[in-house]
Symmetry: C2
Subunit: 141 residues, 2 copies
Amino acid sequence: MSSGNLPRVETADLLHSAAIRVLRMVRVEDAQAGIGPAQLSALSVLVFGGAKTVSELAVLEQVRPPTMSRIVDGLVRKKLVQRVENPEDRRMVRISATARGEKLMLAGKDRRVKALASRFEALTATDLKTLHAAAQLMLRL
Amino acid sequence: MSSGNLPRVETADLLHSAAIRVLRMVRVEDAQAGIGPAQLSALSVLVFGGAKTVSELAVLEQVRPPTMSRIVDGLVRKKLVQRVENPEDRRMVRISATARGEKLMLAGKDRRVKALASRFEALTATDLKTLHAAAQLMLRL
DNA sequence: GGCTAGTAGTTAGCATAGCTAACAAATAGT
DNA sequence: ACTATTTGTTAGCTATGCTAACTACTAGCC
C-alpha cells in the first residue's frame, strides 16, 4: 500500500459519516409519508427508474425475492403500484407505480429536498459549488 | 422566494441522491456483520458517541422508546452491549458497548470505509479534495 | 409430443424492527 | 403523604428481513 492511500481512506471515512448524517436529517420527513421505509424505497426505484420485475427490484434494494414480493403486496394493497402480467413470459410480473404512488413519492422527495435545502441557508456560493461538484462525483462512483 | 433559492434546491436534490447512492454502495458490507441494521446503527451510536440511556438512543435513532428497549435486548443477548444501573436515579439505565461490541463495530465500519475508498481509485487529487471539503460542510449542517 | 432443467414468483414459518396503549417503578413537587 | 412526572418495559399489532419449499411457466433435448 502506497502512502497515497491515506487521503483516500480519510476522505472515505469523512464522506461516509457525512452521508449518514445527511440522510438522518432528511429521514425525519418520511414520518409524514404514512408508509414504511422499505415500501418507500421500492416505490422510489419504480417512480424514478421506471417499471421493474420483482427480481430486478430485489437486486436493486438488496433484499431477497420473497421479501420484495411482500413489499410489493403492501404497495398493491395501498394502490401505490400495480402488477402487470407479461404475455410473452407469464412467469414475469412487471411492477409499475400508479398515479397515486407517483404523487406520494414526489411529495415525499420534495419534503426531503426542501428540508435539506433549508440547512444550506448559512452556506456561501462557493460552499454550494463544492457540494454540487461533490454530489456529481458521488453519483459517478 | 428569491431566484437565489434555485441553486440551493438543485444542489440539495443532487446531494440527496448522492448520499443515498453512497450508502447503498457501502451497505452491501453489512451482510457480514451478522446483526440487523437497527442493532448495528444503535451500536454505532454507542461506540462512537459513548454510553447513552434508552431514551437518548431512541431520540438519536428516531424510534420510540419501546422499540429501542427491544433493540437493546437483542444487543444484550449477543453480549455486544451491557445495561448499567444508575444509583442516583434508578429509573435510568445507561447502555454501553462491550469490548466485543466495539470490536464488531470497528470491523464493520472499516469494511464500509475501505469499500468506499476503493471506489476512489479513478479520482484525481482535486476530486478527492472536493469530496473532503464537501464532507466537512455536510457534517456541519 | 413428452421429459427434464432451469427460471420467476409466491407461500410458510421464523426472527427482527417499527408502532400505540398500558403498566411498573422511581423521583419530584407540593 | 399524595400526586404528577419521568423512565423503562410488556403486550399485541404490522412491517420487513431471511431460508426452505412450492407452483407455474419456459427452454432444451430426444
